[in-house]
């Protein structure tokens, strides 16, 4: 499903070239649950951003569903992001002036779905995430766990086959963190490919497949031994 070949990502810092990713090759199949771990600066977020088409590789090819997506136009990339990929961020990234319902509706609005259908689908999704009472609240009226659940409702509203989570529990307390993780795993259980970036070993070890990154390279790629 996801196929990365020879991916490089370099940044220029002053007159130095920094390799955030160096020759990364990775195959992820549909429905896999993958965690990416590693120290800060090891390139794990950069890798996730490239998989999510938020960033462009400096070299290499990226195929999603058998289609080369590195050379797509801005418009086509936007469509891929909208229909195929859901994002859950560490800091939620909700639009502060919009209500929970409106935040969840944004991807559907960008896709040109009518207002009535948007409202129904967003409301149903928020109910699934236990936020039926909070639909008309703005983000600043919600707790961290509730915000992350709104963000998840938004990430999944277009029913994307791939869900990317960058430190999804990083800004949450333990209880809300657990809640979010179990929701993510439920989604994975229903067939969604889940990729989680984290430096929390407890979270990372829950995944069936665990990648460790060091200095922009994949150091180990292990399948968890089922006990």
């Amino acid at each position: 499903m996801i196929s990365l070949t020879g991916i490089e990502r370099t940044f220029r810092v002053g007159d130095q070239t920094v390799h955030a990713l160096a020759d990364v090759n990775l195959e992820i199949g549909a429905g896999e649950y993958v965690s990416i771990m590693g120290p800060s600066g090891s390139g794990k977020s950069t890798l996730l951003n490239i998989v999510g088409l938020l960033d462009q590789p400096s070299a290499g090819t990226y195929e999603l569903d058998g289609r080369d997506v590195t050379s797509l136009s801005d418009e086509e990339k936007a469509h891929v992001r909208r229909d195929k990929i859901g994002f859950v961020f560490q800091s939620f990234h909700l639009v502060p002036r919009l209500t929970a319902l409106e935040n969840v509706s944004v991807p559907m609005m960008l896709a040109g779905i009518g207002a009535n259908e948007r409202r129904q689908r967003a409301a149903a999704s928020l109910e699934d995430y236990g936020l039926a009472e909070r639909m008309d609240h703005r983000p600043d009226q919600l707790s961290g766990g509730q915000r992350q659940r709104v963000a998840m409702a938004r990430a999944t509203i277009m029913r994307p086959p791939v869900l990317l989570a960058d430190e999804p529990t990083g800004n949450l307390d333990r209880a809300s963190g657990h809640e979010v993780v179990s929701l993510l795993e439920q989604l994975n259980g229903s067939g969604v490919t889940l990729i989680v970036v984290t430096h929390d070993p407890d979270l990372g070890q829950r995944a069936q497949r665990q990648l460790h990154m060091v200095d922009g390279k994949i150091d180990t790629d292990g399948i968890r031994q089922t006990s």
């Binding site: 999510g52 990339k77 992001r81 994002f87 991807p107 960008l110 040109g112 277009m158």
Partner: protein, 402 residues
Amino acid sequence: MKPADMLRFSIRSLTGFRVRSILMILAMSIGVGAVVVLTALGEGARRYVVNQFSSLGTNLIIVFPGRTETGGNLPGMMVGRSPRDLTLEDAVAVLRSRHVTRIAPLNIGSAHLSRGRLSREAPVLGTTHEFRDIRRLEMSQGRFLPPADPTQAQSICVIGQTLSRELFGDQVPIGEWLRIGDRRFRVIGVLGSKGRSLGFDTDELAIIPVASAQQLFNQPSLFRILIETRHRESLLAAQDEVRRILKERHEGDEDVTVVTQDAVLATFDRILRTLTLAVGGIAAISLGVAGILTMNVMLVAVSQRTSEIGLLKALGASGQQIRNLFFAEAALLSAMGAIVGLIIGAAGILLIRQIYPAFPAAAPAWAVVAAVVTAALTGVGFSLMPARRAAKLDPVVSLAKR
């Protein structure tokens, strides 16, 4: 993305950043309002002058004795001659031109008017029946000087409203006797109120036949001849012919000045139009300042919202959609600024009219259009530039920005 959604989303972000939106609208509307009000003032001044002149009729030629030259001395002085008089016969001779429909000789002086114990000084105008039509004077009572041979003196007069009130009170003056200077005149009419026009306050004027005035002031030369031509197009031909006829009658000397009403009017028109343009230009500077303010506010707004732009892109918005959103926002802001500005302008004009009812303040259409277009262009143009830049960024870069 549906246009209605785009509009709704833009309105949400405008109301979300209320202070910014209000500031922008304020800046824009003050600029637009300034242009509207200032050009309305200039245009009002122009119309005021044009109205004053048109009350005299626009197909008018004015003849007065002497040559206007910039030499500083009269031409006659060098050869020991004073310019010839402009006589009643000259005036009648002008009627020979086929371009001329009507003439009115004018003689003017100041005299003592009295009736019983009441008396006052007033300007006295000697003229003929035609004067009323040329000047488009209204009568409130009685009638104007009847058609007659202009060389015949008659003891009749027409007076202005102020004179009527001051000398006759509530009494009907028609048929009463009035002493002007050392002669007696019978009042046959009272002028309607026309107000001040070209320095003559018709309310304070007494009008008598031109021959009577010549006797009264012992002044055989006319002060002016007003000539009405058949239509505007024949104005220049008539001007030449009048000049030729008078030159002929004055033994080949061109010792009269013949000007057209139009020439005077055109000069004023030009001066005042330039003035309006200048004032409009000054106002346009304030509009430009408003545009730059818009740019600054928009620049801050876009950088504040860079992470929002990144988020929208992450959720599947294309660069085009981002640009459209900002375009809609800027267009809404500019439109609102322009509308509020037009309201401010209209209110200003209304206020001016309330304070000076005689002053026909009105913004010319070009100024209104230019103000609105400038507002729209600066508002939209200046806000699109930063939005375009932001839309180009990779989502990961803009998302990281706070």
